[in-house]
Structure formats: structure tokens, C-alpha cells
Symmetry: none
Subunit: 212 residues, 4 copies
DNA sequence: CATGAATGAGGTTTCATTCAT
DNA sequence: TATGAATGAAACCTCATTCAT
């Protein structure tokens, strides 16, 4: 899925350089204040550019939003492409534990962005939204593959592994949400959360044998 | 938690009558188009009022948003207060099944509103946001009580029951989200989803014994 | 031909009152400085309104331009509807003289507007442009009827009376153009111009017999 | 009349080479889309130059407009200087017929430009505008000379020949205008139009004797 | 109490022009 | 000489809120 964004420059390298710059800086302000509350002057300021120049690399404000989504998602994509294959060397149970651990830590690192994406996906153009869904799908697909492997090896017994894969992803997002919802009052520790949820998930699919 | 909303009228009854009217009508348009995309002319029109009169019962546009949240949440509150006590008569496992079933059907009925609340909570004033959190807390509290009862009776073996209660709630919301995300492409049936997730949850907390 | 213009008010009378106000004041600034060079702040100022209120009665800046065209053309329409029928009582030659005289004086009165319309018609939306053409057509139609009557009575001998009617109209506009083109340097007197052109036109269609 | 245009280059030949290039290409886009609707990126693209380089040969966007006027008018000037003298060999009536024929065909060829000039003259700086007027004056002067010759020889009997010369010019422009105004609906043929108008004009100044 | 006309700040986007390379 | 990235002022339009009626 490719989302076309208008540019006035023909220098490919410069375009991607500037877009990275925009995505990275805009991510901060968007996440902090929300898409609608950031105006283009602020955005340009955050990007160390003039408003006019911003529009050399982007067609609309919405495009900037997409760049931010893309930027955040690329981090997630890295998780999928980078680490996912290495799990194949391990038994499914171990692999799933590792994948959950890694993914939930990724969510922790990107927690503000995760919440942001839940809240602002609706602002995207349909095609950009579709691209986001696709990424989401690939993410849960990575978990699904491990689940399926576990089912094949007899380690797991799942009902619908797409649903369970989704559950795993969503329960990761929940970590980000709880912090956002509860703010400072939320005193839970990531390590505990991961352990808790790993147990919950494995319990559900392994016939109740918990981690020791 | 009470959120104060300015009014120009002193007739208490009229105020709450009009506010109910506003909440109910505004809910529809907000949910349909999103908070930012609805302006006060449209809002007033939907409420069968003039803009000026709207401002007799409400101080700002945000207040209307809160009224809508309150209105939607009252539906959820009903679920909690109305049905929750009746579960005490059943064994925890049965009670949890029933609660999940009822709640997930509530989510299904309110699916647009659920998504809406995820997306627009950030628009609320801090105090209004707090009120939303509180309701959320009471909701998961209802599940938590059943879980605790099950642990006490030996039916369940959970780690942190607050986390698991949250999981149950969130996995319900996920139903709404998937439909929104996937639109028409989402062909899953509610009955199946409930069964699947009930199995998943019970599996995790009952030592793996699934529903028959 | 009716050109629809968006309004936020439902009070028909107020809408037409304000639109008259807008047309009248906007005409002055537009004619003076040109459509593109007048911004909405200036426009609103000239109309003794706020920008926001202006947009209660109008959908776009273009709409204001059309209001101005309509306003100017209504003056011309008056010429056509008001005076045209009275000419039927006179022989065609006399009638044509009178019509030219009246019309050219109208052009003189509206000279800036006439030039303005030539220059800014292109800025109108297609449907509004069509409405202008129609008015133009009705105008030359008024002359055409006199010409046809004269041909029937043997007073005139024209080739294509639509073309000649057009000529009459255009040569009237030329009066406005010359003043605009030549500015103060243009020292010609309207009376002379009318006489000159009347002779020119009658000469062409009466077999050369000039006015005395 | 000379209009000064700033340049950053000192190479006279290059300057005029580039300016010709600019005028020729810009003419096309200006005529097609209108002065205001063409921006400098488009203009530079059409001229096969970079924006920056454009500004080496021109001081402002207006200057480019003037170059275009100058370019179009040079075509008209050619008509005047090139063909006008040859008419002296013919009797005034014949000369006038020939001049009208040639000029109206020129207008037909340049019809878009003619309309363009009516609409955009106002965008020129005063001194550039004056240059345009002067050219206009020379054009009608060419017809005026023929008229005067005809009056002297007794072929014509005109009132004010400057006015009549203007009429001839304007009625030529009208051909271009009608096509623009009426678009595809205008089905008149140039040959007929020329014949019609020639008759009209000669009729007016020859005492009604029409062409055979 | 009810109306909706009026306000004006603020939003996004465009574009003529400059200037470092 | 030639390039095109960068600038930032200014354009049109929207909308939450007020207030005279």
C-alpha cells in the first residue's frame, strides 16, 4: 500500500530527508497536543522550517499526519520484520513469550504514539487509513504465525488464532492506554504487566499451565 | 464525581430536561461525524433549538461533549448497577459468562459510541475526563468482583484480578473497534466472538478447562 | 436563469436586504480596485459588516462578485424592461435614436461598471457567467426588435440584425472603454459621441441618409 | 514608449533572447489560464527555465505580463507597419475593405489573445498600460488614414474619422469576444462576419451603397 | 425563555520573491 | 549563469460564542 503525497521538489533524497524531519518533529507535537490543536505555524516551528517550505514536501496537513503514522508504524514494522523471523528457531511457547515481551516493550517505548494513533486514525484520508490497517494486520499476523506453529506442534490449543493474535496485540496497546487514562496515578510496573499478561495469554491457550 | 456546567436558567427541571434533549440528539451527530466536525449550528439544529438557547443550558461546546459522554455512559452504568447484583446468585463461572455476554452485547449495541469515546475522550476537560475514567473503573470493578468471588471459591486462579477485569472490558471494546477499523470487510458474527473470547478468558483463569 | 447562493439565514427579507447592501458597497470597491485586489477584510469593511457576517449571506467571494454583476445588470435590465416598450409607439428610426440615446447615457452613468464587467466576467462561476450572457442577449434583443420593425416598415435595410444589434450595444460599451483607456486625456463629450454613433449606425442601415 | 524592466544580466543579447523565449511561452499559459491563475513555478516550467533564472531577466511577475502584451502586440504592429502602406496604392474603398479583411483575420488568429488583453490590461503597471494604449492608437490610426484619404477623394463621408476608425477596430475585437462569450454555441462563420461588418461600415460612410 | 444575526480571531494554504549553492 | 529550496505575508473561510430583540 502506497500513499501518494504531493511534493514540489524533484530531489528524491531531499524529499525523504525533509519528510523524515517533518515526521519526527511533528510526531512530538501531535502526540503532545493532538492533531487538531496544532496549527501549521507551530508545526513548521517544530520542524525548523517555514510554513511555506513545509508545503514543498507535503500537500496538506493531513499528509503530515500520515507521515507521523508512517514514522511510528515503521518502528512497529521493524519489530515485525526484524525480530519476528528469529523466533522460528524457538519452540512456539518460548517464541510467543519472547514476541510478547519485545512487542510490549515496543508499545511501552511508543506509548504516547499508540494512544495518539487510536485517537487520530479517524483524521486520516481513507487511503492512508487503509495503509494503517494493513500494518495492524501484519502485526497481528506475526503473532498468528507463532500461534499456528504452536497449534501444529501441539503446544497450543486455540480457537480462532486470528482473534487470539488480535487479543495479544490489543492487550499490548492497553498498557499504553492505562498509563494515558490514569496518568501518574498508574503505578503498575511494565515487567509485572508483561508477566501478568503473558500468563493470561499462555494460560488461555496452553490448557492452563502457567509459567512458573 | 460531578462536572459543573454553567447554565443561564434557574429552573432546575427545565435545565435537566433540555440537557437530556441535547445529550440525546448531540450523541447522534457527534458519533456520526466526530466532535470537531460538528459545529454549533448543526448541533442546535439536531437538538431542535436555536444556538442561543443551547447556550442557556451549557457553557461551552465541550460541555455538550461531556453531556454526550454522560448519556452514553449512563447506559453502561445501567448495565453495571442493574444487572451486576443479580449475578451474585450464580457460581462465579456462570456469572462471569453471563456478565461477559451481557456486556459484549451492550458494546455491540453501542459500538459507534464506544469507538467515539476512545477517540474523543481527549477533547474533554480534565475534570470531565476524570469522570469518564471513574465510570470505566466502576465497570471493570464489576468484573473484578466476580473474579474475586471465583478466586475465593476456588473456581478461578487469577494473577492480578484488576488487570484481568480490564482485559475483559477491553476485549469487549475490541469488538467495536474491529468493526470500525475493518468496515464492511469485517464478517465476524457477534455470537462467535463472544464464545471465542469467553473461552479465551475462562481458559486463562480456570486452568485451561474450556467451555464445552 | 437563477444563480443559487448559499445563506445561513432563513429570513428572506433580511437576506435580500443584506445582499443589496453587499452588492452596492462591494460594487464600489471592486470597480475601483479590481476583484482580486480586494480582500475580504476590505470588503467587509466597505459593507459595514464583519467578515463572518458577510458569510452569512454569501457562500464565497465569487458569490459577492455575482451579486455585484447582478446589481449592475439590474440597472441595465431596467433600461430594457422599463423603456423599451414605450418605443413601440414611434417609427423605428425615431425609436432607435431614442433607444441608443437612453442606452448610451446608461453606459455613461455606469461606465466604470461596464469596464469592470468586461474585465471580471472571467472570474465568475460558469452558471453565473451564463446569467450574464443571458442579460447581454436580452439587451441586444431589445435593439434587434426595433431593427426588425424598421426592416418590416421599409425604414431600414440591414443584413443580419442580430449582428447589428450587437454592434449598437458594443459601440455603447466603447464609450466606457475609451474613457477608461484614455483617462483624463479623453476630452470627448458624450452628446457628440451619441450623435456621431447614431449617425454612423443609421447611415449604415438607412441607406446612407444621415440625421440632419 | 519604452518600459524598463530590471535585469541581472549584462549580456544584452542573452537578455533579449531569454525575454523572447519567456514572452512566447508565457503568452500561451497566460492566455489559457489567466494572469492570476498562473504561478511562477508553472511559468518557469513553461519557459523551460528555473524560477530563479526567470528573475534574472525580469523584475516582477507583472514584467512578464508586459512582455506577453508586447509579444502579442508586435503581431498587430506587423499588420500595421507591414501591410498598411501597401493599401495606399488602392482607392480608399478598396483599401478599407482590404484592411478590414486583413485585420479581422488577424483578430481571428489571435482571438484568445485579444480577449486576454481586454481582461488583463488592468494588471499592467501604468507605464506599461500606456504603451498598450499607444499601440492601440497606432492601430486605429492606420484605419484613420484610409478614412481620411477616402474623405479627401470624396469616396467617404464620415463624421469624426477617429471615432469611426475606433469603431472599425472595436468591431473586429467583438469577433473575438463573441466567440469567448458564447463558446461553442457561437456558430457564425468568419467570412460572413467580415462581409456583414464591411457592409455595415461602408454603408455608414459611403452614403449607403453596399458591396455587391 | 428563545432566537439567530453578528463578531473576529484563527485556521490552512498559496505564491511572488530571494539567495545560497 | 542557473537552480530550486526557502521565506513569510496574506489570502479566503469557519466557527464558538455573545447579545439585542
Amino acid at each position: 500500500m502506497v500513499v501518494k503525497i504531493r511534493t514540489h521538489s524533484k530531489d528524491r533524497d531531499l524529499v525523504s530527508l525533509r519528510r523524515r524531519q517533518i515526521a519526527c518533529r511533528a510526531a512530538q507535537v501531535f502526540v503532545e497536543k493532538g492533531y487538531r490543536l496544532v496549527n501549521l505555524r507551530q508545526l513548521a516551528g517544530a520542524c525548523d522550517m517555514s510554513v511555506g517550505n513545509l508545503y514543498n514536501y507535503v500537500g496538506t496537513k493531513q499528509d503530515i499526519l500520515y507521515l507521523v503514522f508512517d514514522y511510528v508504524m515503521s518502528d512497529v514494522a521493524e519489530f515485525i520484520e526484524g525480530t519476528s523471523p528469529t523466533y522460528d528457531a524457538f519452540p512456539a511457547t518460548k517464541a510467543l513469550q519472547m514476541a510478547i515481551d519485545t512487542y510490549y516493550r515496543t508499545v511501552d517505548r511508543l506509548q504516547d504514539s499508540v494512544v495518539f494513533m487510536y485517537q487520530e486514525t479517524k483524521e486520516l484520508r481513507p487511503d492512508a487509513r487503509k495503509a494503517v490497517f494493513e500494518m495492524e494486520r501484519r502485526l497481528s499476523g506475526a503473532f498468528e504465525r507463532i500461534l499456528d506453529r504452536g497449534c501444529a506442534s501441539g503446544e497450543f490449543k486455540t480457537g480462532s488464532s486470528p482473534v487470539i493474535a488480535q487479543n495479544i496485540v490489543i492487550l499490548g496497546h492497553m498498557w499504553a492506554f492505562r498509563r494515558w487514562l490514569l496518568g501518574k496515578r498508574y503505578a503498575y510496573v511494565l515487567e509485572d504487566y508483561i508477566k501478568e499478561q503473558t500468563n493470561f495469554i499462555l494460560g488461555a491457550i496452553r490448557g492452563g499451565k502457567q509459567l512458573r
